[in-house]
Amino acid sequence: MSRDVREIVREEQWMRPRILEALASGPLTVPEIAAAIGRPADEAMFWVMGMRKYGYLHELKEKTGDGYFRYETPAGSAS
């Protein structure tokens, strides 16, 4: 059963370092990030998009063959 959106969003700052750690080894899609942090993809979507909004990560221009974007940290794009 889906959790309340307010509850998921509250965890964004808690999840941020885990997601950044997952992205340290390279760009990932939302399902890949979800798998890396062991949380459902729909919840990871909230955290990834919140982090995108506040500049912690951004998407690569090219999407994957199965229709996903990959996300990376600003440090990732600089390297």
Binding site: V5, E7, V30
Partner: protein, 902 residues
């Protein structure tokens, strides 16, 4: 008359009416409940059928309304009620909510937002992404000013007697900002480590999460940040403020004295603490046993004070505050606590082995404890000090340690967990007994305690049932040591000649200012209140410091505010914000108790970092803003003002335009469509945001997994033309916005397949039918027939079961990646409260009734009150603008009629 016209609501209709009236020369007050003018239109992607950018059309009107010389705009404000006056005009009460940001200073830089510690769903993006408690509504908001969402003070912070912003440091820990969390507590008191261990945690009793699976371990979180700070090899240096040339003497170095000294030193005072004991710390060092509060922690906390240049002189007993003044101090604070134990008042108290609780505990802390090995110890009393004594006695080797209390377990003032832990450590409770005499042998040594059984009668002044002796029930309790823990009192005899004392020997002060009858002498802590607790003493020390500062700066003390925060937010309101709550397990207490403890090692283990953050994330952000002060620190314009309060204003106006718009149908009221349950079922308003330039995602993606959808279905008339949800009305523009979205999606996702499940398409308007045909020609597939239900596959796809009218009425199923519910509109019932007198008429569906719609559009049942836009029924944007123009013309005619007749 304050204004010619009041316009309620600043959507496209309200702005249009206000601008038209303003252009005609009328003075207009435009009220908007949100933080920005613009209503719903500015959040749309594009408008139909021209596909012009909605923001591009809206924002010039928004700016024009806000900057119009004849229009005053109050955003984040609500009209609470309107009544007619006797002259054809109206009186309106407007409540302007506090933004907690000074609009005249805010530059819209969003620095506050970037550091805010609280994330909440962004209602301006239909909850598809987060925003912060400190925020600017959306990128095109007018005014482009931040605000801080505050529902009240969080109960944990509100109930802290010390005034510590508990929610603030919890939120900072959740964000991983441990040192900032420490510094936030340090702003209130230097006793971060001590409170993190030995506070009785009023915050946790108030925690809303306690109404779910258990409160947060807020006290232990404080200990967590204190431990990290003190363990750092090079903790951040404490900034020493410039001295202001004034000197304050603080008498006593307990929680109140240390906190006051810290607060005064931070304000630039030269502070000296005078302590009668040989070591500083008061009850922290000399009363609380080490298993609850190690002395090293007390010393670390005290070092915060001395780091500011505060001098501590121990072994100095002050008997005359006046003498201190003569030594050159500008003010004196007496914070000497309650160092005297009350006596039992029974024979035998002078026998060898009859002790008082404070001396016993003090001797233990100073390494001078009596040898209790193999002895039987009886502690008289039922408070926390009695429990400290009995647990200490067990650690000192007592073979029997008994608490004798005259009331029952329920009436014991000691904290329940302390009593429970004492019993687990082998202490015994002898309840409903009172001491009659301490018995001794010929050598003068204690041999026992004569007691009498008690029974509970009616409640006394304390609310507890009064103990009454049972005649003939006396008995002897065998013991070698008797410890009296029946109360504590202030040691103020030497002050009696100079200060006014209360009957219980406490110092009489003004409770607001902490000032004694001698203006330069203040008093705080237990010497004023009588025995209390560490957090309460800290709070009084803070208050005293603030008042001493005011007094020494030559300011009036009468009416001086202190800790005047917002009222506590109600737990009911907090819990109503979510429909469901996942169970988030509280951290394990982890206290390892021994039935025969042998040392004073600390019992409670620290939280690990993982435990701390997992605990902090359970916080419900009751007050929304956590008061972490990060925005205050970050704002380059000093625009944050957490002391800002709302205001109410009464205005007289000649005419009113009601332009309060509509509400959207809550899609979860059609459970067969799975909104809120299936991750890839969204509403058309959410799709508007996904298509808008300021969208929450980087493009149109599935909320369930971030994949670009290839097959998208629209379900028309969700919540409109539907008797099952009580709304038989057509929402008028859903067909067109769905067609518009189809065209836009085909632009964003050229390969996507789009299917629209509809009843019939209503394309009534200039260019609308052509727009519909264009979408069809572009490839959108229109399927006539209702959708019966939606199911979700394991992959998050959606299977629609629908009726296909044009193919023989067969029931069919199709699978999609994403389903969009074209939700209908409902009346905005909030306007029912605008006219408490009930004169404003509504139609059968609660839209504002236009009493002469054919010949006098916008006219309502009240002369002088007009309706603009969708408040009187669903209208698209061009219709709303036309209608708003009519309302403005009607209002102008009314105003002219008033002018002519006056």
């Amino acid at each position: 008359m304050d204004y010619d016209a009041l316009v309620v609501g600043s959507g496209i209709g309200g702005m249009e009416s206000a601008l038209k009236l303003g252009d005609m020369g009328y003075r207009v007050l435009l009220i908007e409940k949100e933080a920005s003018v613009g209503g719903k239109m500015v959040l749309l992607s594009k408008v139909f059928p021209t596909l012009d950018c909605a923001s591009c059309i809206s924002t010039p009107k928004m700016a024009a309304a806000v900057h119009h010389p004849n229009i005053e705009v109050l955003t984040y404000s609500e009209v609470e009620g309107i009544a007619r006056d006797g002259d054809g005009g109206f009186r309106a009460r407007v409540r302007q909510k506090p933004r907690f940001v000074d609009e005249s200073l805010c530059t819209g830089c969003r620095d506050c937002e970037s550091v805010c510690s609280v994330a909440v769903p962004d209602e301006f993006n239909d909850a598809m992404v987060s925003r912060r408690a400190a925020y600017i509504a959306f990128p095109q908001a007018v005014p482009q000013k931040a605000l801080i969402e505050r529902a009240g003070t969080s109960p944990c912070s509100f109930d802290c007697p010390a005034g510590i912003r508990a929610h603030g440091y919890v939120a900072l820990i959740r964000s991983g900002e441990y040192e900032k969390a420490f510094q936030l507590v340090l702003e209130t008191t230097p006793l971060v480590g001590s409170l993190g261990r030995a506070c009785y945690a009023f915050c946790e009793s108030a925690c809303t999460r306690g109404d779910l699976e258990g409160s947060l371990p807020i006290r232990r979180l404080k200990r967590f940040v204190a431990d990290r700070h003190y363990a750092a090899e090079t903790p951040p240096a404490i900034e020493i403020p410039a001295r202001n040339g004034k000197k304050v003497a603080v008498v006593g170095s307990g929680p109140a004295g240390l906190t006051a000294a810290w607060q005064l030193a931070r304000r630039g005072y030269q502070v000296k603490i005078l302590e009668a004991a040989s070591e500083p710390g008061g009850m922290l060092r000399l009363t609380i046993p080490g298993y609850r509060l190690p002395v090293e922690v007390v010393e670390q906390d005290i070092a915060n004070v001395t780091a500011l240049g505060v001098e501590i002189e121990t072994g100095t007993r002050v008997e005359s505050p006046e003498a201190l003044m003569q030594q050159g101090y500008d003010a004196v604070l007496l914070a000497t606590g309650t160092p005297l134990s009350s006596s039992l008042g029974i024979p035998g108290e002078s026998l060898n082995g009859a002790l008082d609780a404070l001396s016993f505990l003090r001797d233990m802390r100073l390494g001078e404890a009596p040898n209790l090995h193999g002895k039987r110890v009886a502690v008289i009393g039922g408070g926390d000090v009695a429990i400290d004594c009995v647990r200490t006695a067990r650690r000192l080797g007592a073979k029997e340690a008994t608490v004798a209390y005259r009331r029952g377990r329920e009436e014991m003032p000691a904290h329940r967990h302390e009593v429970r832990d004492a019993e687990q450590e082998g202490a015994r409770l002898e309840l409903l007994v009172a001491p009659v005499e301490v018995l001794g042998d010929e050598s003068g040594a204690v041999t026992g305690l004569r007691c009498i059984r008690m029974t509970l009668g009616e409640p006394d002044a304390s609310g507890r049932r009064r103990p009454e002796p049972k005649p003939g029930s006396e008995f002897e309790l065998g013991c070698d040591v008797v410890i009296a823990a029946v109360g504590m009192s202030a040691d103020t005899a030497s002050f009696a000649a100079q200060l006014q004392l209360n009957g219980d020997k406490t110092i009489a002060v003004d409770p607001q200012t902490m000032q004694t009858a001698t203006p330069s002498v203040f008093a705080a802590g237990d010497v004023v209140s009588g025995p209390s607790d560490m957090a309460s003493a800290v709070g009084r020390g803070r208050r005293a410091a603030a008042m001493i500062d005011r007094w020494l700066q030559g300011n009036e003390l009468d009416g001086a505010g202190f800790d005047d925060g917002l009222a506590a937010v109600s737990k009911t309101e907090v819990l109503a914000r979510q429909k469901t709550y996942a169970r988030l397990e509280p951290a394990e207490p982890g206290v390892l108790l021994s039935a025969a403890p042998t040392d004073f090692a600390e019992l409670e283990p620290p939280l690990s970092e993982e435990e701390a953050r997992a605990s902090a994330v359970r916080c419900l952000d009751c007050g929304v803003c956590s008061e972490c002060q990060e925005c205050v620190s970050a704002c380059p314009a000093d625009a944050i003002d957490l002391d800002m309060r709302g205001r109410e204003l009464d205005v007289e106006v000649g005419a009113i335009v009601v332009s309060t718009g509509f509400k959207l149908f809550p899609a979860d009221l059609k459970p067969q469509y799975g909104y809120g349950k299936f991750k890839n079922v969204i509403t058309a308003t959410q799709m508007e945001r996904l298509l808008a330039p300021t969208r929450p995602y980087n493009t149109v993606l599935r909320p369930g997994d971030g994949r670009m959808p290839e097959r998208i279905a629209y379900v028309m008339c969700t919540g409109s033309r539907d008797q099952t949800v009580g709304n038989p009305l057509c929402s008028k523009f859903c067909c067109m916005y769905s067609i518009k979205q189809n065209q836009l999606i085909m632009g964003v996702l050229p390969l996507a397949e789009l299917t629209v499940h509809y009843i019939d398409v209503r394309a009534v308007g200039k260019g609308y039918d052509e727009f519909y045909a264009q979408a069809s020609a572009m490839g959108a597939d229109f399927v006539k027939g209702r959708v019966a239900e939606i199911r979700e596959t394991d992959e998050g796809n959606l299977i629609l079961r629908y009726e296909d009218v044009e193919n023989g009425g067969a029931v069919a199923e199709a699978e999609y990646d994403l389903v969009v519910l074209a939700v209908g509109v409902q009346p905005n019932r909030e306007i029912l409260k605008l006219f408490p007198g009930g004169e404003l008429a509504f139609d059968d569906f609660d839209y504002v009734d236009e009493v002469d719609e054919d010949l006098n559009p916008a006219r309502t049942s009240i002369p002088g009150v007009y309706v603009a836009g969708s408040a009187s029924g669903a209208k698209d944007i061009p219709e709303s603008i036309l209608h708003a123009g009519a309302a403005a013309a009607q209002a102008a005619a009314h105003l002219e009629a008033m002018r002519v007749s006056s």
